[in-house]
Symmetry: C2
Subunit: 770 residues, 2 copies
């Protein structure tokens, strides 16, 4: 964010200079003064909020500046004005600016943190929010919906802000377009740093949602440019564009588990963006295309491994004469001059085709309309290593797609694909390790499509006179650092790195153990130096800690004897608990782990390695609204339980679920009376494609409830299920597992001794959630 | 069209001047020369087609001019180059112009008469068709579909043309937008005269259709301005706008039986148009509104009496989450500064609401979504006489519509309507007898809606500084003549008035009668001076004639004895036959009237007054594809028949039917064995709302087929049915008639002696036609 320091300095200089003229600088120290200053504000005024913490403030910045005399509301010192507690900022009127506020340690009591309107009749026009931070300003109850920046009105801008850590329901940024006073809005979202957004476990976790299906006919012309999106993993749609003529230019999508989705609306421009994946993830997507007239040009897709909804380019099938809120056919789309580097099967067509499901879905749900009048030309596909998979995948018969002059490295096979040709390529790695690729032959063949002359520049804004295929005209710009953060977010802000104060403590008694949890900092390790500790009270886990035996070769025994409702470990929001080398024993009226019922704003994680967990009712039991990102148990013994792991609290059939990853590897499991896992996602919606269950190399004995329909490992509605190389003996339930064949549910290498079985149901009748 | 003569003279002067420069004028006399001239054409060339008749010509005008050097194809003398037979004109390339051709006496063998493309890959850009005529160039088979002007490509123009008489299937002008090369097309349709288009009897009779539901998301920006639409009665949609951002400005809709319909697409501008009705018609409509964001401003609606689909302003209900081809909800519409003068209930809301039909229609057909976020402000409603009907009608509960400052003359009652106020008005009639109206008080209250400042001018393009309500800011412009035709159509063309050579002839023998039909001119009257004529051959009616007894007090007897398949009177396309004071007798193997089977391009009409028709199988029997605009029998005797009038040939359930008006008044009817009338329209589609049956003051005896389900007067699917003050005696069929209660079907004052009855079925299950 260094580059912007200079700009900010210049800005301040100008403010000071101007204040020597007719500008009034009005320092305010409390809400009464602030309210009064706003009420009296004249064009050109600057209202300065004094440094310090402003708690429970409801700012209604309603005033009217002029194009050359905006009214400015700013922090005395950038980053030293903290908005905390139950607070929000509303902006309404014309030519207003807000600078350098820091929202933290709280949440909004209304629908939005920053809202570009005051009420139904008063919206914002030509207003800017610049250099502000909204960090972890998330609702305590993660099922409560809000937005952090809500756009209304016209020509408003969100510039150079840092926004991160929203874990509750609702898109981070939302543009509303209902009404002529909000249509044709031309908002600008630029140079912001969108920090990590954790997985939400269901829909409504977008980082941006621009409009909705009811305004999908509205022209909006929203421009999203020069932003950095860092691991925005909230859901399968990182950005959901639902209106017309939006532009997405020069953004970096860094390891975001989702895609830029053209969900509704038409004629989007997606130009010169970077989509950066990871060797180890097939959840990181690129662009998903629905509807008409989009131009996808000059983009660079690196290291994307996803398929279907999460493929680098996913062109969907539509529903013929689709209802307003479903899937229009893809028509008149242009995909030109893009580069796919080290992506697997970057072009996937007719994604979402479900013609074979006409028995279980209503006709208005059948996506059978193939993409038509679509051009894919002058792109580059480069792989540094030989790839055995196809460059193009069709989930239905090919539609009317014109492939022309797409250049492919010799590490791929183009046989059987018209419009693709093997070309020699030059690949040069820059300092960020993203290789830049160009077609070697400067006279390589190109296609002259309708209006292609309008694609004047490449991803570096170099003009295309040297008219190479792919996003980069010439690799001379190899010095460009895609991951240079200087241009994003406020110049004054450095995102906290956490764990700076982490320490290791050793305890010998129960009391010391309780005390160590109370005093822990996030990241602490608590080592127990004892044989047995008897614990008559439960433990509230409010910071992320590792708990382990002091000697890892000798497991410490923790005997929980508490009889109240609370579990052995009650997990607060956002904590990780990590147990190692412990024997944890309970009673049949006690659960081992539960999330805190009142306060489930952020996902908790549970890691167990080399432990024995026994004698409990359940090891983990979810609550409605709680979410566990990852629960991972490895190399452990679990035995003598009523249930194992229960994640079944989202019963509204709205696509929500209680955990993103459940992983069990190398465990010994025995004597579980009912189910070992109940992992539930209800409600059919292809846009919630999450839920991951891994159960590999475990040995399970004498478990499950008697009954021909009973299931030991229940994964209803979970999309990704892997059950490999386990041994099941004396399972009483009729099924070890029932898999969902059309999704990514696989099993192999399992040995089942006895009558129980694993079956695969190809189609599962689901309740529609919209 | 005088004003334009001056312009045309200027144009020619410039052409001649330029031809003294580098312009090449190339006279061509036949297709070979024309083809060669086109092949060789260079920017700036003028190709001149020599005067005379060009028959069966397929012109493919494919060339490339330059912005300042168009290639022109023109007539040697405007209006003296006739394109006849099976001919068409295709235009493809850039900067081409076609001037002054006259299409007549033929039809196109392809899909279009003038087509702005040559083939799939070659469309027209920046091309113009100027001053051409297409007159009655209609397919022989009226079920065969074509378009007369088909727009493709971008920025093409249809200027100062005369186009009239299309009676076959298909819109007269059609804009196609499938593909980026046809989107954002910015076509201009200006200063044309669209002459009468006869009623088609079913859908696909629009004068203009701009796009379709599949391209309803495409921006088109088509401008339709300064056109005169004269009795364009093809169907209920005169213009069907189905794409986005179209503009309709300053057109005159003169007694068109239909509306300007915003069927699909959004953000249309309808500004400064004249919608002129007729005291005697409730079929003449105004603007029908569906979808989002339209601005309807400065329009003048005069003398419109229609309701529902045909009301001056019909705001429809939408279908929630409508399928692509159905009805989106009305949102964000502005209706401001319009004037309704002598209209009855000009504002009708929730038209098409059919919530009560959920038993007989699928859910995706139920129009229950009320109009929302719509503003109706600063309009004028003026009635010269006191009106008892409401100014606003709701077919459902009111939606979210903001009525503000609408000024109403004291001849109306505004009680119970918010946002309407009684104001004194000044009304001044101009020479065309259309009164111009203004609010008397120059300071009358106005509403300042969002973006209303953009409504800068009134209907006369006077600026709105004197900011009156209604379409006219000040009536100082009263000299404006709305019906001045000078600005429409080619300057060289006068539409033929017909009947100039009509004469009266008297015949005494059968042979003379046959000869008189053969030699007749349209409009002739044939008087028969004889007691009885025996006619062993049938009569082919190829011209419109009146046939009457020479002495109107003494009916002449015509005895048809022919036994071949042909009917007594075989009607050619477009004829009217009018029988007066005749006794027409036939046999039970003979029908009295039938349309010509091969050649049914234009509707025929039948009028019978003071005649006796007896002894035939049927009096009228339709054929598939034939159409009768009006059949009217009055003061006559009809007896001794198998059937009466059979109009049942449109059996495809596509909304088509065989007659627009069937009228029977003051007749004596007896001894009809089966049905007296079978009048059928199959297929449910609210956009075909035609069919009119009138049966008043008749006496019917001893008729109808025996059977409890038999019907004497069958009107299945006909929307307007009126059965008043008749006497039915000894009717054998179970029903005299079955009426459709939810449509405009009424009966009263009928006397039925015997068991037969008239029933009303509220809802009729219909087959959907889309």
């Amino acid at each position: 964010m260094k580059l912007f320091k200079t700009l900010t300095l210049l800005l301040f200089t100008s403010l000071i200079l101007t204040s020597c003229g007719n500008k009034v600088e009005n320092m305010v120290k409390n809400m009464a003064e602030l309210k009064s200053a706003i009420d009296d504000a004249q064009p050109g005024d600057v209202i300065v909020m004094s440094n310090g913490t402003w708690t429970d403030v409801e700012i209604d910045f309603k005033a009217n500046g002029l194009v050359d005399k905006p009214i400015v509301l700013k922090a005395e010192t950038p980053g030293q004005v903290f908005i905390e507690g139950q607070s929000f900022l509303k902006i309404a009127g014309q030519f207003l600016e807000v600078h350098d506020l820091y929202f933290r340690n709280g949440y909004t009591p209304i629908n939005a943190v920053i809202q570009f309107k005051s009420d139904k009749k008063n919206a914002a026009y030509d207003c800017k929010v610049v250099g502000c931070v909204i960090e972890n300003f998330t609702q305590l109850d993660r099922t409560k919906k809000d937005h952090w920046v809500e756009f209304w009105g016209q020509r408003n801008q969100l510039l150079s802000c840092y926004i991160a850590g929203k874990s509750n329901n609702g898109p981070t940024v939302r543009a509303e377009l209902k009404g002529n006073q909000h249509a044709n809005c031309h908002h600008l979202i630029a140079n912001n740093y969108f920090g990590p957004r954790p997985r939400r476990g269901g829909p409504r976790g977008e980082t941006m949602q621009l409009g909705d299906s009811y305004t999908s006919m509205v022209p909006s012309y929203i421009e999203v440019r020069d932003n950095f999106l860092d691991r925005c993993n909230g859901e399968v749609e990182v950005i959901s564009s639902k209106t017309n003529f939006n532009k997405f230019v020069n953004n970096v999508f860094y390891k975001c588990e989702g895609s830029l989705v053209l969900r509704h609306g038409n004629y989007a421009t997606i130009d010169s963006n970077w989509f950066i994946g990871d060797d180890n993830s097939d959840n990181i997507g690129g662009v998903r295309v629905i509807n008409t007239g989009h131009w996808i040009t000059n983009n660079y897709f690196y290291n994307l491994k996803g398929n279907e909804f999460r493929s680098a380019i996913a062109i969907m099938n539509g529903i013929p004469k689709s209802p307003l809120n479903r899937y229009n056919q893809v028509t008149d789309v242009v995909i030109a001059y893009n580069s796919w580097v080290d992506c697997i099967t970057p072009l996937q067509f007719s994604v979402g085709s479900n013609v074979n499901k006409s028995d279980v879905l209503p006709k208005s749900e059948i996506r059978s309309a193939l993409p038509i009048r679509t051009t894919v030309a002058n792109n580059v596909i480069y792989n540094s290593k030989t790839v055995s998979k196809d460059i193009v995948k069709y989930y239905d018969t090919p539609g009317d797609v014109d492939f022309q002059c797409n250049h492919v490295s010799e590490t791929n096979d183009v046989k059987g694909f018209d419009g693709f040709l093997i070309s020699e390529m030059n690949a040069i790695s820059d300092e960020t390790s993203i290789p830049f690729v160009e077609v070697a032959d400067p006279n390589a063949k190109l296609f002259d499509g309708f209006d292609f002359a309008k694609i004047k520049n490449d991803i570096f804004s170099n003009n295309r006179d040297a008219n190479h295929a792919g996003a980069i005209c010439a690799v001379k710009d190899v010095k460009y650092n895609v991951l240079n953060m200087d241009k994003y977010g406020p110049s004054w802000f450095v995102a906290s790195k956490g764990n700076a104060n982490a320490k290791r403590v050793t305890v010998k008694t129960s009391e010391e153990l309780y005390t160590s949890f109370e005093k822990a900092n996030s990241g602490d390790t608590i080592l127990i130096d004892a044989d047995v500790l008897t614990l008559s009270k439960n433990i509230e886990v409010t910071k992320s800690v590792v708990v382990a035996s002091a000697n890892k070769d000798q497991q410490v025994r923790l005997q929980f004897t508490s009889t109240d409702q609370a579990p052995a470990f009650e997990l607060g929001p956002g904590v990780d608990i990590n147990l190692q080398h412990l024997i944890v024993e309970g009673t049949k009226t006690l659960n081992c782990f539960e999330p805190n019922a009142k306060d489930m704003s952020i996902a908790a994680n549970v890691f167990v390695d080399n432990c024995t967990l026994s004698g409990f009712h359940s090891i983990y039991r979810s609550k409605k609204g709680s979410f566990t990102d990852t629960l991972k148990v490895v190399n452990s013994v679990m035995k003598n339980l009523v249930d194992g792991f229960i994640f079944d609290s989202e019963t509204d059939d709205k696509g929500d679920y209680n955990a993103e990853f459940l992983i069990f590897e190398n465990n010994q499991i025995s004597d579980v009376e009912n189910v070992f896992v109940d992992y539930h996602r209800g409600g059919y919606d292809e846009s919630t494609i999450g839920g991951n269950f891994v159960f590999n190399n475990n040995v399970v004995k004498r478990s499950g409830k008697l009954g021909s329909n009973a299931i030991l490992l229940k994964t209803n509605g979970i999309v990704n299920v892997q059950i490999l190389n386990n041994e099941f003996t004396s399972i009483k339930s009729g099924f070890v597992a029932r898999l969902w064949g059309e999704k990514n549910n696989v099993e192999s290498g399992n040995t089942i001794k006895g009558k129980s079985k694993i079956v695969t149901d190809e189609f599962v009748t689901q309740k529609l959630m919209y």
